[in-house]
Symmetry: C2
């Protein structure tokens, strides 16, 4: 069992496992190449939008996103938002998700975020609770279609 | 009872009710002037970070924030995140919060967000449910102090 390298997303990752690993969350690998590249460039130029990936044997097998939000409250504080945590099915159970999360939580802390928040369903709550997260509220959603 | 004007935040609003109205959420009006101005400029230069305010009789009495997140999933879709919805205590019960929310939900829709999400505690859930939001998950938080 190889140890994953946890690092930030690079453009080459898009077609080297990254979009494919997102498929377990929601179909992503069928996106147009130029569109995916545009999104990568937008994210990459924004220091407050960080995508972390786990690489094993030269291929991306999982990822998660951290958005850093500037607020006026908390004396102009920063809030970290974790999104889209995913690990390829065949790589689950190897604590890869945990390693990606620890990387992003540490990143948020280093950037000075006073809190890191995320939304999750009941089935994955214990995973985040083991990392120190506590339920504080509800996530509500409105679909725009 | 004056009808509120709902619009985007301007720099002059900072010391014309905006930071004060955030105080009902979390102390904000004691922030250093230059720091508040820096945050305003950062937000103002980011088209994906929108702060809406309600103005009554020339003064800001409420606000809310919309963050637009670029995702790779959903064919490179956008997700809207609503944050920090607040109305001054003495102006509550006049449907001002509802008007700010409808403004931001419409904004998210026009920008092409496939969903708009927010986190809230049980006590204010009915307010968002009336606007069409539905509970889908839990909000978890990790404090970094």
């Amino acid at each position: 069992m190889s140890e994953p390298i946890i690092r930030e997303l690079k453009e080459d990752d898009l077609w080297n496992g990254f979009l494919e690993s997102l498929d377990s969350l929601k179909q992503a690998s069928n996106i147009e190449k130029t569109k995916a590249k545009d999104i990568f460039e937008k994210i990459n130029s924004n220091p407050d939008h960080i995508v972390a990936v786990a690489e094993i044997d030269g291929r991306v097998v999982g990822s998660a996103t951290l958005l850093i939000e500037s607020k006026f409250i908390h004396n102009g504080g920063l809030a970290g938002h974790i999104e889209d945590v995913v690990v390829n099915k065949e790589y689950q159970g190897q604590r890869i998700g945990e390693k990606i999360m620890r990387y992003l939580v540490e990143k948020a802390k280093k950037r000075g975020c006073y809190k890191t928040i995320l939304d999750c369903t009941d089935d994955v709550k214990p995973f985040y609770e083991k990392l120190g997260f506590k339920q504080v509220a509800n996530e509500l959603r409105l679909d725009n279609n």
